[in-house]
């Protein structure tokens, strides 16, 4: 069974964002990593790249599938999780502990468009 974590905001395309001050840590949900299977590669943007809410910023690949990463918010990439370059399987081990990018939010009001954990749970059960 997939795990869900409280206190995060979720998107319909299964990304989560953990907000800390003006920054947000974006990753994929445990539900998403389950659906993908063994992750073999994470395609990440560069630091200083701009991301836009609703637009792709990278992709997660397993052997037989690939899923685009859609940014839940707009902002500037300030850090990427370099550990995923060599150990993409970290997403399978703990999707919530292993965020993919850290973004400086340009419009925190966008967070209101995302789901809380209860709404996201319901979304996954649809």
């Amino acid at each position: 069974m997939a795990k869900f974590e409280e206190g995060l905001r979720y998107s319909e395309s299964h990304e989560y964002i953990r907000v800390k001050g003006e920054f947000g840590y974006i990753g994929i949900s445990d539900y998403a990593q389950h659906a993908l299977g063994n992750v073999v590669y994470v395609d990440m943007p560069d630091v200083d790249d701009e991301v836009t809410a609703g637009e792709e910023f990278g992709a997660v690949e397993s052997v037989k599938a690939a899923s685009d990463l859609i940014s839940p918010v707009s902002g500037t990439v300030v850090e990427v999780n370099e550990a995923l370059e060599d150990q993409p399987e970290l997403l399978n081990e703990d999707a919530f502990a292993n965020w993919i990018i850290k973004v400086q939010l340009s419009d925190p009001s966008e967070l209101d468009n995302l789901m809380d954990v209860e709404a996201y749970k319901a979304h996954c059960e649809e």
Partner: protein, 509 residues
């Protein structure tokens, strides 16, 4: 097939000082490459293998023994039309006179080759019910791309270039949307109904919404489920009315040979896979050939070069007027506006065309008509005989291929992957699996017209046996194959730490 792995790489058989060639030694050595400035020369010699001739012969012969082809056994790989590749066609394509032709030699010196080329263009047009073909594209996906270019060039010529959307059923081969994207078009998916055919109402809705943006609709018919689209005439009419063109993906054309032509269904542009419908060998993945045909009125948008038949009138002083009928190559370098351009080095895979034309001549008009019906009979026979053990999601007539959704009995946990792998143990190539995406456990079987009732019966028996094993000894099936040179491979390792060359593998040691 040798069921033990011959695992060597040629590099591992190399020994300094051995050689596998002989070249003439008497040549003018006035000039050597040492004349070239050092900045233009490579620093270290390429580490190519050094092997004697017999070592090379045995190595590749042994490798071939770990391979399975149509000549080894039944190869029901759905959507790939693995028909018999006639031996005589290889003999013809290997004729020295063809093999030694340079593509830029004057047309008068290669009329025989151009005649084959031209006649194949004409034959395909007749078989497809279209006006003209180009043979330039090298494969099916290359044909799709070329066909979409033709469609865009047509819209551009009408100053209607804002048409950038292409409608594609969600059941389509992945190459359709990929070709559209390469051609700069935006893909809009058309939904399928539960029976796998195009949802005409959804199409109507899309055309209402965005009809004036639609460049084309791409369709495979029979579709990827092996089902003939019953509303095809209505669909082509609707799209034409909206100003779009209809593209026919010829991947499944084999089913229709003798019964139905794409041009007669209202398609404007199509490609044919010579390596499927016209029996040329798949060669482990290529070379193929993907000729593109167009209906009347679109010929001028085909890419160059084009092979044309011409009649030239001479006036020779002593003999008076003389007529010469022959073939020329139009390289498209004239003054006239060429809306499309070129899609390959020269004019396509001529070696493949020779085989396809030999096939057409061998069968002749009478036997070609049997191809679709016999392939379709074989597929329907398998459908009826396997539906007790394998889940048949679409019950009606199929065409040249049939799709099952895994085993009927899902309680054993045996998947389509397991069934496919177990088939390898029994000496069969697996069907296409997990495509189309409409079902979770797709198992797509295509028996071509060349397969005998005995071959098919034996395959059916094995499929039933595997269904039985799934109940009595599921582990046996889940851990298959057991009787092949290698077992299941670690795909995750391959993708996570890619080792793509021998040199990389040495670094890792």
């Amino acid at each position: 097939m040798n069921r033990t792995l011959y695992g060597n790489l040629i590099f591992e058989l190399s020994k300094k000082g051995r050689k596998g060639y002989s070249l003439p030694q008497d040549y003018d050595r006035t000039h050597t490459t040492a004349e070239l400035p050092e900045t233009l020369r490579r620093k270290e010699a390429a580490r190519l293998p050094e092997c004697d001739e017999l070592t090379v012969v045995r190595h590749y012969t042994n490798l071939s023994h770990n391979n399975f082809g149509v000549n080894d056994g039944f190869y029901p790989l759905g959507s790939c039309t693995m028909k018999y590749n006639p031996v005589i066609n290889e003999e013809i394509a290997g004729m020295k006179a063809f093999a030694g032709l340079h593509p830029l030699q004057p047309a008068v010196t290669c009329q025989g080759a151009l005649e084959v080329y031209y006649n194949l263009q004409e034959s395909l047009a007749e078989l497809a019910g279209l006006s003209e073909f180009t043979l330039n594209p090298c494969a099916g996906a290359h044909g799709e791309l070329t066909g979409l270019m033709v469609i865009r060039a047509y819209h551009e010529s009408r100053k209607d270039a804002a048409r950038t959307k292409v409608l594609i059923p969600d059941s389509a081969h992945g190459t359709n949307p990929a070709s559209a994207a390469v051609c700069g078009l935006e893909v809009v998916e058309v939904k399928s109904l539960a029976d796998g055919t195009v949802d005409v109402e959804h199409l109507r809705q899309l055309l209402d919404e965005m009809g004036s943006d639609v460049a084309a609709m791409m369709m495979t018919n029979p579709n990827t489920l092996g089902i003939f689209e019953p509303h095809v005439l209505e669909i082509t009419e609707m799209v034409h009315k909206a100003g779009g063109l209809m593209y026919y993906d010829g991947a499944n054309l084999n089913a229709l040979l003798g019964e139905c032509r794409p041009g007669d269904m209202g398609f404007d542009v199509m490609h044919i896979n010579l390596h499927k419908t016209f029996s040329t060998p798949h060669g482990g993945g290529g070379p193929g050939s993907g000729p593109v045909g167009v209906r009347k009125g679109l010929e001028q948008f085909l890419p160059t070069p084009r092979v044309k038949k011409v009649i030239v009138n001479y006036d020779i002083p002593e003999d008076g007027p003389t007529e010469w009928e022959g073939f020329i190559i139009d390289w498209g370098q004239g003054d006239q506006e060429k809306p499309l351009g070129s899609v390959g080095n020269f004019f396509g895979n001529f070696g493949v065309m020779l085989k396809a034309y030999a096939y057409i001549l061998s069968l002749g008009s009478e036997n070609i008509k049997q191809v679709g019906p016999l392939a379709t009979l074989n597929a329907n026979y398998i459908k009826e005989r396997l539906r007790d053990d394998y889940l048949l999601p679409i019950k009606g007539l199929c065409k040249h291929e049939v799709v099952f959704d895994g085993l009927v009995d899902k309680s054993t946990g045996v998947t389509t992957m397991d069934v496919a792998k177990r088939l390898l143990d029994y000496g069969y190539h697996a069907p296409t699996i997990y495509f189309p995406l409409l079902f979770h456990e797709s198992l797509m079987i295509e028996p071509t017209e060349n397969e005998s009732k005995e071959t098919i019966d034996a395959f059916i028996d094995v499929m039933h046996k595997i269904a039985e094993e799934a109940k009595t000894d599921p582990e046996l099936v889940k851990t298959a194959p057991h009787n092949t040179p290698i077992g299941r491979v670690d795909d995750v390792l391959a993708a996570k730490q890619p080792v793509l060359t021998y040199w990389k593998s040495l670094e890792n040691e």
